[in-house]
């Protein structure tokens, strides 16, 4: 709802009355794309309210059936007007009387139709008049009395026309709508203008839960729907806009002291057995950020009594001499293994996953080095250690470290279908290389290399954690043929074997003298697995045939494929795996959040109270619900009366100063404003209930 920038300021003050306008605009563009202006004519009113004698009146206009608002003459208006405005209800209500037989429901539909009603309050001291629109609404309930003939009419405000209408709303799970956007949509549906709306961070929070509402009235729905934000809503008669904010004191509207408050003052402190320990429970879902991504981390730990292995001998790199070591290793309970898994979800799908396996390990090392002359000597570049099992390692003691790591990546098409998956596996391994070379198939020359005890050439002299294997799976489909394929290409450490012929390299001294095309191994394509599915029909995922063919390199000792072969196609029947498509899904979890009023607990012991709320999406929202309930239970309502002030409405902040009662300039919020005016004598009063919150509940 973009608003183009025209701000019109309207004042009801009559033109001939000099008044000062103070214009207060609240622009809340960050929260809602609308502009709300709150114009207050304060000076005239303040001057009038300072008078010991003032004049009061109400002008009542009503639609008498012609669509226009017509002023009801004084002679037809009863003397008593009552306006009720409270957060206890959803709407403001006025009641008044209309005198005359013409209001009989047998004569006209005036009191049984939803006729528009407008009331303007007039408050003045002689020479200075202020008028305020105090009510705009429509007839809700009419009652006619025959003798004397008059009708009593109750009218509800513009919001009241809608508040008992039933809401029908459905939101898909994972809609990621903000509460603000849903609120604005609903207000728009009913033609209710949004005023100052502040639902807190994230525009009132993001909805993941499905929403299915029917049979709930609009008033009740908004109350429950906004509860997790802590906001209460009210409809302002003067601006005819709906405001929604937390119930906290704001700009002080008036300061009231003994000179403008009635003599009676009633303070209702909370009962000593009121709840002071409030727990809100709800079913929550893991939070997913704005992109829909979320990460879950899981960890499993194995503990056992274990003594890390230590070396028994060290080979000195300077001269290859062996030194016997006497290293001690304490056997104690410790972590012996840990599996950490990070899973990234987009909606309900895993899009990437990393696992790390930790354990006690000392990387293998090559204790020897072959020179180009063929001489095999000790490793001159590193001290290496021999363990009790005879293996050679790079360090003298096992270390607790990552020993395996896997990575999974999934790619989806723009339509959300799985197109490719990548699997990486990291492990400790050494990349091997040739130790001899032959150019004629007969004579071999030596190649310089690190070498293991059993004569395998290594490029580096120790193992390292590296990606030695991975696979890439492409997922394809042929809708016309009702076919889908999965082609998994395998990659691993490999060197192509060749026949023993000139310009070939060979590993040696391996007994079989297998010759390779390259002098070193590298990670490269080593085979593929093709799986094809043929479905019976598009609707049914039943598969008539599943064909799987496996192609790999022969004669290799790659970690993945045992040999070059084309396996015969295997045909199996079964169920076609469901098409993997991005979906929104989140796992539910029970959550609870408690708010405690320690002052009350200290005074009155703990009194527990539990609320279950299905609208909360996060723990923070449960905390808000619990705290707001605690505030509601712990507030101190004050009841008193003041002479009518047509500007004061529910939700306004009042500063109360009654130092004789120990009440020093406390800011409180008007919860209820009941206005009564006797038009004949001018007798009037506004009975207020304002809420005081002790410091711990602010």
């Amino acid at each position: 709802m973009p608003q183009t920038g025209l701000l019109s300021v309207v004042t009801n003050v009559k033109a001939k009355v000099t008044a000062q306008l103070s214009v207060l605009t609240n622009v809340t563009t960050s929260r809602v794309d609308s502009l709300s202006a709150n114009t207050t004519v304060t000076r005239s009113l303040a001057a009038i309210l300072a008078e010991g004698w003032r004049v009061i009146g109400v002008k009542v206009e009503m639609d008498l059936g012609d669509g226009a608002l017509t002023e009801i003459p004084r002679s037809e208006l009863g003397s008593s007007i009552r306006i009720s405005s409270s957060f206890d209800g959803f709407t403001d209500e006025v009641s008044f009387q209309l005198a005359g037989r013409k209001y009989s429901p047998f004569k006209s539909a005036l009191i049984r139709g939803q006729q528009r009603v407008r009331m303007t309050g007039i408050l003045l001291r002689p020479g200075l008049i202020t008028t305020r629109k105090i009510f705009e609404g429509a007839v809700a309930i009419g009652k006619y009395f025959g003798d004397p003939p008059f009708a009593t009419v109750s009218a509800v405000d513009s919001f009241g026309r809608h508040s008992s209408k039933q809401v029908h709303l459905n939101l898909e799970p994972g809609s990621r709508r903000t509460r603000l956007s849903v609120l604005l949509e609903i207000l728009n549906t009913y033609g209710i203008q949004a005023g100052e709306i502040n639902l807190g961070p994230e525009q009132g929070g993001i909805l993941f839960k499905p929403v299915s509402v029917s049979g709930v009235t609009l008033g009740e729905f908004l109350r429950d729907f906004l509860k997790p934000t802590g906001a209460v809503y009210w409809f302002d008669q003067s601006t005819e806009k709906l405001h929604a904010q937390k119930f906290r004191p704001g700009t002080v509207y008036r300061t009231l002291d003994s000179s403008n408050m009635g003599r009676e003052l009633e303070v209702m402190v909370p009962a000593t057995n009121n709840a002071n320990n409030v727990t809100a429970t709800g079913i929550l879902f893991a939070y997913t950020g704005p992109s829909g991504e979320r990460t879950e981390r899981s960890e499993s730990v194995s503990r056992a009594v274990y003594a890390p292995l230590v070396a028994s001998k060290r080979q000195n790199k300077a001269d290859g001499s062996l030194t016997t070591l006497s290293l001690s290793s304490v056997s104690e309970e410790s972590e012996v293994g840990k599996l950490i898994k990070w899973t990234n979800y987009l909606g309900g799908n895993v899009v990437s996953q990393v696992t790390e396996e930790l354990g006690w390990y000392a990387p293998m090392a090559a204790p020897k080095k072959q020179l180009s002359s063929g001489t095999i000597q000790h490793n001159p570049d590193r001290d290496v250690y021999q363990y009790a099992d005879g293996s050679w390692r790079s360090v003298d003691r096992e270390e607790y470290q990552v020993i395996r790591r896997t990575r999974l990546l999934k790619y989806y098409s723009s339509a959300g279908y799985l197109t490719q998956r990548w699997d990486f596996r990291e492990s400790f391994a050494a990349d091997r290389q040739a130790i001899t070379q032959t150019t004629d198939g007969v004579n071999e020359t030596f190649l310089p290399t690190y070498m293991t005890e059993d004569g395998v050439g290594w490029i580096n002299d120790i193992e390292k954690l590296n990606i030695w294997e991975h696979s890439i799976t492409d997922v394809q489909g042929d809708d016309a043929k009702l076919l889908s394929y999965e082609v998994m290409n395998l990659y691993g450490l490999f060197a192509y074997p060749v026949a023993k012929q000139p310009n070939s390299y060979g590993y040696g001294p391996i007994a079989l003298k297998t010759f390779k095309k390259s002098s070193t191994e590298s990670v490269q394509w080593v085979g593929k697995v093709v799986t094809s599915y043929r479905a019976l029909s598009e609707e049914e995922h039943t598969v008539t045939t599943t064909r799987q063919s496996i192609v790999g390199m022969a004669g290799t000792n790659t970690p993945i494929i045992g040999g070059t072969s084309v396996d015969p196609i295997r045909t199996v029947t079964g169920t076609r795996p469901p098409v993997e498509q991005l979906t929104d899904f989140q796992a539910a979890q029970q959550a609870r959040s408690t708010a405690v009023d320690n002052v009350q607990v200290a005074l009155n012991e703990a009194h527990y109270y539990y609320i279950h709320d299905e609208w909360a999406e996060t723990n923070g929202e449960l905390q808000v619900i619990a705290f707001e309930e605690l505030r509601a239970q712990g507030k101190w309502p004050l009841r008193f009366s003041i002479p009518v002030d047509y500007d004061l409405r529910k939700g306004h902040t009042l500063r109360i100063n009654r130092p004789e009662h120990g009440l020093n300039n406390e800011d409180m919020l008007a919860w209820t404003v009941e206005t009564e005016i006797d038009l004949k004598t001018g007798a009037n009063r506004q009975t207020l209930v304002v809420d005081h919150f002790p410091p711990e509940l602010r």
Binding site: S258, K680, R685
Partner: protein
């Protein structure tokens, strides 16, 4: 029916309805014991905690006097002589007329207006009695002062809120409550108007007591009713 006193005020004869009565308050031979005019000042108190009171009056409309009132008029004639003939008969009839009665006690009343800048139209709470009840407009006149400075009052048969008024004058409509003046107020001003109100009343109670032959004390209480003009 002797009444030689012609000064306006207490000694003038009360005019009831169309001017047919000749009842004076202090008529030598024929008078009510007293005229009790009780102006009910329309206001309500609101006691605040400081031990003081805020008064509120009802708003009756724009350009009205600051303080609205509502009068009750009591006219007791304890020594009413039957010999007064037509007047007695008239008073007895009044009780049964079943309509609003116009009553002019010829007592000067005062109205105060706090007029904001720009105001030039004023409404008396009741019509001025002189023109309507056939009295001399000079004797039973209207005065109009703005912040203590009098303006010339001129009675008009035709006057509306849009009539152009001669500068320095205040025009009073003979048959309605309208007064218009020129110039309009330049700032908030105290306007004082004196006039002789014509009350529209209905008899609420009327007691006739038969005491002895030839005497029928009459006791009337009139209450003010809606002013339609």
């Amino acid at each position: 029916m002797p009444n030689t006193l012609t000064n306006p005020g207490l000694f003038d004869k009360i005019t009831i309805d169309s001017g047919t009565t000749q009842l004076g308050i202090r008529d030598i031979t024929f008078f009510p014991q007293a005229v009790q005019i009780t102006p009910d000042i329309l206001q309500a108190p609101f006691e605040v905690a400081a031990g003081r009171t805020v008064f509120t009056s009802p708003y009756l409309g724009d350009n009205h006097p600051d303080q609205p009132t509502d009068v009750t008029i009591a006219l007791p004639w304890p020594e009413f002589e039957l010999a007064q003939g037509p007047d007695v008969a008239f008073l007895k009839k009044i009780r049964k007329l079943g309509r609003v009665i116009q009553l002019a006690p010829w007592l000067q009343d005062y109205e105060f207006y706090t007029a904001p800048a720009g105001q030039d139209v004023f409404y008396l709470p009741r019509r001025h009695a002189a023109s309507l009840m056939g009295k001399n407009e000079g004797t039973f006149g209207v005065s109009f002062t703005v912040n203590g400075v009098a303006r010339t009052v001129v009675f008009k048969d035709v006057l509306t809120t849009s009539t152009a008024v001669t500068s320095g004058e205040a025009w009073v409509h003979r048959t309605s409550r309208l007064i218009k003046t020129n110039p309009a107020m330049v700032a908030t001003s105290e306007v004082e108007v004196t006039y002789y109100p014509l009350y529209r009343v209905r008899p609420l109670t009327s007691t006739i007591e038969i005491r002895r032959k030839g005497r029928e004390p009459l006791d009337f209480v009139f209450v003010e009713t809606t002013e339609n003009t």
